[in-house]
Symmetry: C3
Subunit: 112 residues, 3 copies
């Protein structure tokens, strides 16, 4: 069992959800986050004052997968989230040791 965690552009969420459903991994958890990658902070102006935007609004999605290979899920997210411009995001894979479905009490891969 793996946790595929991705931080993507908010306006790519619908496309990513579609890509995940198509690859057979429709379940996901979505969190509004902000963040920065390696790009330098962006400077803006507001009423004549200069300010720095250093945290950008992003969406974090978490998909726990068992029967679908994590690589397929990563590929589906990468394709759906891609624009080619800086800020497209990152995808990480973490190990998961156990899973339980609350309604049924099912455990392990069948719980995911």
């Amino acid at each position: 069992i793996k946790l595929v965690m991705a931080v993507i552009r908010p306006d790519k969420l619908a496309e990513v959800k579609r890509g995940l459903a198509e690859v057979g991994a429709p379940s996901l958890t979505v969190t509004n986050v902000s963040g920065r990658g390696s790009q330098p902070a962006k400077k803006g102006q507001w009423r004549g004052e200069e300010y720095t935007v250093d945290l950008h609004q992003k969406v974090k999605i978490e998909c726990i997968v068992a029967d679908i290979p994590a690589e397929d899920v990563v590929d589906a997210i990468r394709e759906a989230a891609h624009t080619g411009e800086p800020g497209d995001g990152k995808i990480f894979v973490l190990p998961v040791e156990a899973a339980v479905q609350v309604r049924t009490g099912k455990e392990g891969m069948t719980a995911v």
Copy 2:
């Protein structure tokens, strides 16, 4: 050290907090999230227009535990979060390699 991560119904949070305290694991971090499991999207009507609710409001809780077995924490959450209806949520366990308490600088199991 383990991270027990659960996505539950928002209106079960109080009961889950009580269950965790009773099992000796009161510490937790709570995040407002939305998500979907394996159930099909729900259709609704608004001013004559049909729309699809495909992300449901949920609460994510994260409990890092060291001295209490992760299984006991999982069981406490499962019992407190259970209604028997679809949408009750999922619980996952991830490995944690290190922990530090910021105030004291304590490390490892005593930091959790």
Copy 3:
């Protein structure tokens, strides 16, 4: 590759971001969360009614690091987030098995 996850005081975020940039790990993802550690719930009064504040506003930061040792990142966060008062927060390190940068398709340590 490691995930350094920290839950800190919201008013320490700017200092922590500075500390991370200084240690060469500027990338991070920030989430508004609430939580409780081991301290007892705080009692308050509102219009004559007593109530209990048992979840405190915190900020969760997640830094995935590859070329910088996780320990250095942990130390940078610990120093920047420290006040010495209860509630300063916790830092955890989790293993990460894979990373992909969406824009370039880069994988592994160079993707972080």
